[in-house]
Amino acid sequence: MTETFVHENIQATSPARESLPKAKGRVVFDPHWCRTCRVCEVVCSIAKEGQARPAVARINISFNEFASVDPISATICFQCEDAPCIAACRVDAMVREARTGAVVVLQDKCVGCMRCQKACQWGVPKQHPDRREALKCDLCSDREGGPLCVEMCPLSGKALKYEPDYYTRGNGDGRV
C-alpha cells in the first residue's frame, strides 16, 4: 500500500462525504495531568470486550522512560473532521455516528484490511490481536454518559476530557 494509492482512494470516494454526518466531539488528552495509571485502557477494554485487556483498548497510554521529549503520550482517535480513514475503507465499514460525530467501525462489515490505519496520520486504528478487525474509539456512542474512559479516569476532566462540541464550537483543528 503506497501513500499515493491511499491518496487516490480518498479522492475517489470523496464526493460521498458531503452527505455524511459532521465531526462534533472528541476526547482530549493532556499529558501534563496524566499519571500513566492506564485505567482508561482497562475500562475501555472492559466496556468493549468484557475483560481487562489493553491490547484491545481503543485508547492506549505510553510512559516511555527513555524518551527525553514527550515521555508520556496517548494513542486515541481525534475523530477528525477530514477523517481519511472513512474514505480509505473499501467495504464501507467506517461511518460517522450522527449523535456524537464519532467515526465508528461497523464490526459486521470490517474485514481487518487496516487501510484505515495506513490512511491515518497517527496510525490510530489498530488491529484486533485475535480477529481480522480494526479497533478505534467510538466515543462510547452507545452510552448516554459519554466515554467511559473519561468518566473512570482518576484525573477526569484534567488528564482526559470529553469535549462533545470540540469541532462545532469554532476553534477545533483536530490537533492537541
Binding site: 495509571c37 492506564r38 468484557g50 481487562a52 510512559f63 527513555f66 527525553s68
Partner: protein, 662 residues
Amino acid sequence: MGAFSGGYTGRFLRVDLDQRQVSVEETPDPRKWLGPRGWNALIGWNEVGPGVGPFDPANRIVFSVGPLVGTCAPTSGRTTVSTLSPRGYPRPMWTSASMGGYFGAELKYAGYDGLVIQGQADAPCYLLIEDEQVTLEDARDLWGKGVYATEQALKARHGAQHQIATIGPAGENRVRFASIIHRLNNAIGNGGFGGVLGAKGLKAIVVRGTGGVRIADPVGFLEAVRYVWNLTKGGIGRVGRPDAGYPAVACAHACSVRCVTRIKPLEDRYGTKANLAMIKCVDQSWEGGSHPEYRGVSLRGEALHVPRPTGLGKPGLDLTNLANDMGLTTWAYDTWYRYLGALGELGIGEVCGQPVELSNPDWWRDWIVKVAHREGLGDDYAEGLARFYDKHQIGPRYLAEFIESAGSRGHGWHREGRAMEPHPSPFWEYSALLYAVSTRDVTPSTHDFFFLNWLYGYPKTPKDPSEISLPLQELAERVYGSRKAVYPGDEYIEHVTVWHQHRAIIKDSMTLCDWVFPVMRRGYASREEAMADKGSLDGDTSAEAVLYRPCTGIELDISEMERPIAERIVNLERCIEVRNNGRCREDDEAVIPHYQWPEKTDGTHLSADAHEFRALLDRYYDLRGWDRQTSWPTREKLEELGLEEVARALEPLRVPQMAVGR
C-alpha cells in the same frame, strides 16, 4: 483449583534454569491461598528445604500477582516477590517484597498468576515471556552492564511495550542488599533479592502480554472501583498532590496518585537520556538529607549519637541514579552514613586504612561502584552492616547494633532502613513486636498503623488518653475493637499487630499499595477537599473484598480473608522459619536491646529485664496459638488451619520444652 470466573488466570509458570525447561502448572487454590503471599509461602514450604542457601540453585524466587492486578482496581499494579533472602541476619530468611510499575500487569496479560524460577544457568541468560512463548535467551552481552543500559538494550531488541525487571552488577556479584529494578526505578529493593537472580545467572525477565484479565461481573466491578477510588484517591497522607508539574507518574499500574514520586532526567553518563521516575521517599535522602539524628543513653549507660545524613544536593541525585543503575538499594546511604558518620564523631575517620569522606560525592560514587563489584573493601561492605561489623568490629558494638542487627534481621532499624526513627508509644511497641516476629524490615507491608501517629502530632507521646483526639480514638474502636489501641503503652498492641499482619497478607495478595490499604481513613484529591471534610476519619476496611468479589466471582468476605486465610499464611511463613532456621523465642527476643533504648521524647526505658516486652510477646503468642516457650505454632493451631501436613512435618523437630527455655 476452586472455581472462579475472573481475576486469576489459573496458570503458574515454572522456569528450571538447570534443565533450561519451562512448564505451566495450575495456580494453587485461591480459596485456600488467596494470592501471592499464600502461593509463595506454599512454594517456599514445599520446595526450599532446610540447608538450602539463598545463592544455591535449589532456592526459589517467586514473582506473583494477585487477582486484581491488570485491572483498574485502585493501586493494583503491584508484584509480590518471595525468596530465601541473603540479607537475613544472622541467617538468610524466607522473605517477601513488592514493587509497582507495569511488570505485574504485563505478566497477568501474558496469562500467568505467577512465575517460579529455580536452578542455575550455566551461562548468563534472560527470560523472555511473550504470551505463550517463553524462552531463555543469551545474556552474555548484557552481563556486567548497568540497569539502565540493560533495560534500554532489551527494549530496543524486543519493543517499547515489553516490561523488564533486571539486576545490575550488584545483583550479579551477590551483594546482600542488591535490588531488582523495573522501569528504571521501581524496585524489589531493600529485601536484598538481586543477588538471588545473580546467583542463578538470570540477568533479566522480559515480559509482554496481549491477553486479558477476565472480570466476573464487569458492571459490579466498575461500581466497586468507583466506590473504592473515591475513598482512596489521596494516597500517602490521604491527600493527593495534583500540582505535580510535568512529567509526573504514579509508581504503579492503576494508581494515579503521585504520592512522593517525581521524574528527573538522568545524566548522560549512563549512555541514555532517559527520564527517571524517581520514588522520592528515602531515595531523596542522597539529595536532600534524611530523617532526624538520634541522641540517647541506653539502660547500660552507653551514650550514642547517630548523625542525620545531610544529603549532597544535586550530586546526590546523580548518586541515587547510580545506585539504581548498579542495582543497589538506594536505602544504603541512610544506613551507612549513620554508621560511618558516628564513627567519624568518635574520631575514627578511616575504615581499614581507607579514608571516609561522607560529604564528598566522589567518595560515594567510588563506594557504590566498589560495593556493586565487590572490589577491595567493597567486598566487605557488600555483606551489609551487620556482617561488616562482625568482621571488622570498628567502633562500639552497640552503635552497629543500633543501626542494623540480628533483631532487625540485618535491615536498618525502624521504618524500612532509616537506621532508626523512634516513634511515640504505642507505635514504638507495635514496631518492636512486628520486628520480633518478622524476617525483614517490616514497615513496607504495615505502614498503616504508623500513619496514625501523624494524628498524634508525631513524635510526641501523649501523657494521658484525654490528649488523644476523639476521632482517632473512635477510629481505633471501629478498626481494632478498642480505644486502647492508640493509648500509650502496650495494653492492646498484640491485637493491633495481628490485625495488621493479616491485612498485610491480604494486601500483598490482591496486590495493592501499602500506603493506601487497608483503608482505615479515607483520602482526598486535594487539600481543599480534605479541609472541607475536616475531622472525618471514615474509611472502609472491607474495601479489598468489595473489589475482590465482582472481579473473581468468589464470595469471600473480609473476615474470611483475615481468618482463616491470612492467618494460615502467617503460620505457614512462620513454619518455614521454624523448620529451616530453627526460629525460636530467643530469635524473636533479639529485638529487646534495641527496644530498650529510650524513646525520643520522654526518655523512658523498659525495665532492665524487659519483662514488659516479654509479657507482650506472651500475649501475642497466645493470640496466635503459638507455644510461649518455643514460639512455634502449636499442632492444634496448624490443624485448625488445614495445615495437617505441615504439623506432621514439624512434629519430629519439636524438642523437649526444657531445652528451649530462656
